[in-house]
Amino acid sequence: MPGKLKAKIVAGRHLPVMDRASDLTDAFVEVKFGNTTFKTDVFPKSLNPQWNSEWFKFEVDDEDLQDEPLQITVLDHDTYSANDAIGKVYIDIDPLLCTEAASVISGWFPIYDTIHGIRGEINVLVKVELFNDLNRFRQSSCGVKFFCTTSIPRGYRAAMVHGFVEELVVNEDPEYQWIDRIRTPRASNEARQRLISLMSGELQRKIGLKVLEMGGNAVVGYLQCFDLEGESGLVVRAIGTACTLEKHSSGSLVNTHTHPNTAPASNACNSPSKDGKEPVFGEDLPSSSGPPTPFRNLPTSSSSPPPFSPCKPCSRQSSSSDTDLSLTPKTGMGSGGSAGKEAGPLKTLLRQQTQTALEQRGASSSGLLLNAREFPFFTLTSFPPSFLVHVGGVVSARSVKLLDRIHNPDEPETRDAWWEELRQEIKSHAKALGCHAVVGYSENTSICEEVCILSASGTAAILNPRYMREGCLDIGSTDQRFDDPSPPSCGFCHIPYDELNMPFPAQLTYCYNCRRQKVPDVLFTTINLPAEAAVTGKGCLIQARLCRLKKKAQGEVNATAISNLLPFMEYELHTQLMNKLKLRSMNALFGLHIQISVGENMLLGLASATGVYLTALPAPGGIQIAGKASGDLNNEQHVQSIQKRINDTIAKNKELYQINPPELTEEGVGSPIPEPRHRSRLFRSHSESSDEVSELDLSHGKKDAFVLEIDDTDAVEDIHSLLTDASPPTGFYTCNTETMPGIYNWTTAVQMFTSVRVLRLSNANLSNQSLNKIFTDLCENLLKSFYFKLRSNIPCCLCHLNFTVAVPEEELIQVSVTAVAMTFDKDQNQEGFITKGGNETEEQLQFPLELCADSSSTNAQPSSKFSGVPENTIVSSRAASVDYGSFADRCSTWLELLRLKANTIRRGSVKTSRRTQSLAHSVSSLEHCSPLTEGRPRSLRSSRSFGGSSVTMVKMTPLSFLPGTRIIKFLGIINMFFIRETTSLREEGGVSGFLHTFIAEVFAMVRAHVAALGGNAVVSYSMKDCVLMENPNKNQAQCLINVSGDAVICVRETDQEPMTSMTNIGQTCAADGAT
């Protein structure tokens, strides 16, 4: 039931002139919520009207409160003709529904018109009175907090991570309805904006319900996307990670229960379903076998009964999540077929499988520590220390589908089934890597006409089960592995899979850090670099770019053509990444994001990641050039010169990124390492085969230089492109992860920016090579532009460089980038950053401490961080990931794998799992992990930082934090969708002028909303979509932008404030929350 929404229109300013005669405007305002509309009086003849209206009250269901935006329309009163609309403001009142977030929305909002852009501002006050609702069958999910941040939000502690939530709603796109032919562009745009706003509200509500069902109170890593499928409709989908979050507090004053109670339903709604589900993540989960062998028991008997019956909440319309497909060993089901039209029957197939899966699950419950209910996926990319036990590698899956009209919006079965397949695929990949979870998970699509590529990717990982459930762990038994894991600085690099049954050929060596466990030679992941990881030198952005032409085609032919191209693209992207990584003398990629974008006559692939040198992993071998077999002398020389250039580049890069691992001395002099290694071998003795592998260990040395063969022009091109990648100029660093390893002393200066570039290919008959060159240049030039523009910020690091490519129409390539330039302090070194780094570590450390409060390992955790050598490490005996063992054996080369992929794709989807390996060496930056060096400085300066000038400065960043500041309050999620259209493109300065204005307007609107919520910053900001359509000949253009982020209040971090103030802050927050 109900809530009371109150709105008051205070004033307007800078209104446009609507009456030419008087150069003034007679403005009034309509306030609409749901179907109720109120109007203010007309304020005649003013561009700065003062309405100062009464409070307009709407009595509405909280379901509506969640779905609907408050719609404010400013109009010009006209006595004789129809009133002219000046513009609108949509206010998402969701933040007000969460008692902890904002309590009032008050401020100046830009009045936005889809044709004219921002036209003045309006001052509005909005409040909500929410009545407690104990109805357990309710449809709303007020009180569930949403975060875009893909880590546990600062200031919170995760009491429990419940797992993956997803939802999807579909509708017809108003732009394609028949009525669009007769209505104005403005009306059509507004209908679209409103619909999407409604749909995302609904989506959020439904996800909220799922979270409540799971017993959580928040969604982190909430990722919402729109698929504009054109004729076939509009899909809004979202994924996230359900958690139970608690406010951080040092004292016990503010406790867990502040907000679960304020969201009454979380308990109320929970209880009925709990009985059925509790076993899944509750006490039933035995800890007998550790995640390293999560699926060991999988194929064994199905004796024990299913732990729960698949409950199907009647409330939900989406079907996808109800199907509990789980760990069915992959039966090679043809996931989809490139023509997705057969999805209907497939669905039933899936359902059948589900049944078997459920049965099997009973037996395998030991392995299903986490989130057994659905997919063990986590959208998080950063984790509290010791959360991540091992990382397997990147798993990704793609599938090509043909879109057809969505016949019944209430039954989004098809789309659901598609994603279901992909997730299934991903899960089986993860399993093949011996992992029971996928972290850093994301999904996206690329649509061109009726062809749609769905992609999902993540990082296979083994997580510490401790965080996955409530209650204490049964420590007594076998689970020491987790209580005393490998040193945090390298533990996550250790292979999760069995070295005898590796899913792909890889060279394993003993960890260079702890010398006890095996590590691969290269590690690719989609997550952020763990804070505690030991890294040598700095990192840098590595991109692989690829263009592939394809013939224009229709329907299934087209889909097949694309499917056939995809594996080759993936392969080539991977090769490029590998080469570039070696060229920079690095051995791991973080934040890997591969985007494949489809156009009418080409496919674009862009892989971005941050390369680093993980101390735990072996040094990469060089790149060796092999010439043609022929003894052509010229050629020989050519090869040599290239080889020399490559070697020079590698040497230069080593210097540039300060990669100087002490490996040489180590090998030459005879290191102090043998001892620990010896010990590790001792431990290993009961695991198979350790001896001869450790023998291999040293001999491996550098022999695995990467060989590039120049046997055709392609290869030459490749090498050239390899070498033409310019490294950033002095003073700049780049990465696409949250932060750059080795830089900690950030100043508070941040500059977030968005840049879009569109290239028109003038020549119709381009070759793949020249196309590649153009595309590469485009990306490189963009980066160069950034360096130049931001040169005043030197020394600085461009963080979270997020590239998005698209092929908006034939012969156009669009690249959009959002990133943040963060300045750091060069002079102030080590000391400065240690405290800072330590600070962060500690903040997060609260989390494990709290969590394992009653486990014996509480103390072991931090101390092992210091020592780096925990005592009783038991080297895991890695069980085979049974079902994929044979598969892995077969793939002795990448090409082999490729072929396999090609096979798969013929059946409709591509899957990739990658990862390789080789040698070891040591030295960890222990200082980096000293967590307890400093208390968290706390201060209560919140009120100071805003107010003051008439316009609050609002900082924006794609990162989850702002350097030098502390987030004291999350005010709610910002999720906005805008359409802008123009019919006077030339007059607005062409497409560039048009888009420039629009992006600036979007920023302005985001800032205004944040400021109105009382915030002064947006974290985890991202621009999900930027769809630009232009027709210069008609002088028209249209653009859609979708942005999201978390509105926060942050305060400057004043160093070394007494600890007592921490409690104050806690109280304040609680008090705020209560008001």
């Binding site: 003038s762 160069k784 560039s992 420039h996 600036a1000």
Partner: protein, 438 residues
Amino acid sequence: MLTDKLILTSYYFAFFNFASEKTGSWKFFSSFNFGAAVNSGKMLRFFLKRLELIVTRDMNAAVSHRSDQPMPGTLSPRDCKMAVELDVFVGNTTIMDEEVYQLWLDGYTVNDAVKVRMAGGVLDECEANQDVLLSDTMDQYRTFQMCERLLQSPAKLANQLLFQIPPHRQTMLIERYYAFDDVFVREVLGKKLSKGTKKDLDDISAKTGVTLKSCRRQFDNFKRVFKVVEELKGPLVENIRQHFLLSDKLARDYAAIVFFANNRFETGKKKLQYLTFQDFAFCAGQLINNWTVGAVDNMVEDMDVDLDKEFLQELKELKILITDKDLLDQHKSLVCTALRGKTKAFAEMEANFKNLSRGLVNIATKLTNTKDVRDFFIDLVEKFIEPCRSDRWTPADIKLYLTHYTNSAHILDSFKHQAVWDRYMGVIKSCIYKMYHD
């Protein structure tokens, strides 16, 4: 078909020219004989419709070729090779390079600005190339153009939401936007800020070397400030400062410009050419502070813009100083007594006293005539400064002479208009002193 295309293409051209008529680059159009057709909107639309149907590559080429020329309010798309269709960079905090801002203000085209920047050596800073520079310059120019609307009413800049600009940057933007070239302002000082003057801007631009675009901006600034303060009560300088958020110095300069424009002082005559804007600005300040209505009453409209009519009437009374022979002689002897032995130019002072005194008093008595107000400065130069200069008075001599000349009048028994005299001579003294140089 081919011809058909061709013709349509030229229509296309024609249309563009039509659209950009204001830039005055319409030559192309007349070379095609379709004036009538294009002029009628109906036909135009018809042709455009057809155009859509036969959009050819040639046409695209034509378009991009054509649009090299900047149109008012828009930017020419990059004339880059072929490729970059769109290129924008938007920062959350608006990024503005002061150097580029200055180039923009100075009216450089994007391409010229790029050349200047390259010559300035920016490229070396960041391993950039010309493309990067071009792209950056374009971005900034666009930003400035979008900002321009706000800069025209600076108060809006502070509370607008579109651009997030730190306050000190806002101040810089405004200050620079309203800054002007002394050479330019010297040309328009005292002229009516009207359309007529605006049309002469090309000539002024040619003469001063300030680009036409920059001239227009400066002229429009003058006009805008003039229009706003015209209707305001209260002190002129303060009004300008508050409305346009300018520094005190700049506000004073604008006050001078407004004051000169309002009273239409003649400043363009050859004899006045040696005077700089700052000379005039100083004089204007003196006049505003002492001779306007505002000097006595500070809540009247136009108080600082119009001269105090009553005062001007009263000035007529000063005539007695030169018409009354006794008074004149008495005055002369008093001044001479005071000056004797204090200056080398004493002889000339003595000889010229009557002439000079007549000159100054005549100026005073004629000021009721608007025409003569306009000639105020030229009169000062002709009647006082030039004679003194030909006698090689030093500035110190001038000061000395004027001081005693003013003070001596107080001693004259029969001279009753002490207050008016002081108010008049105070200004004259400082103006002449300021204007007395080469």
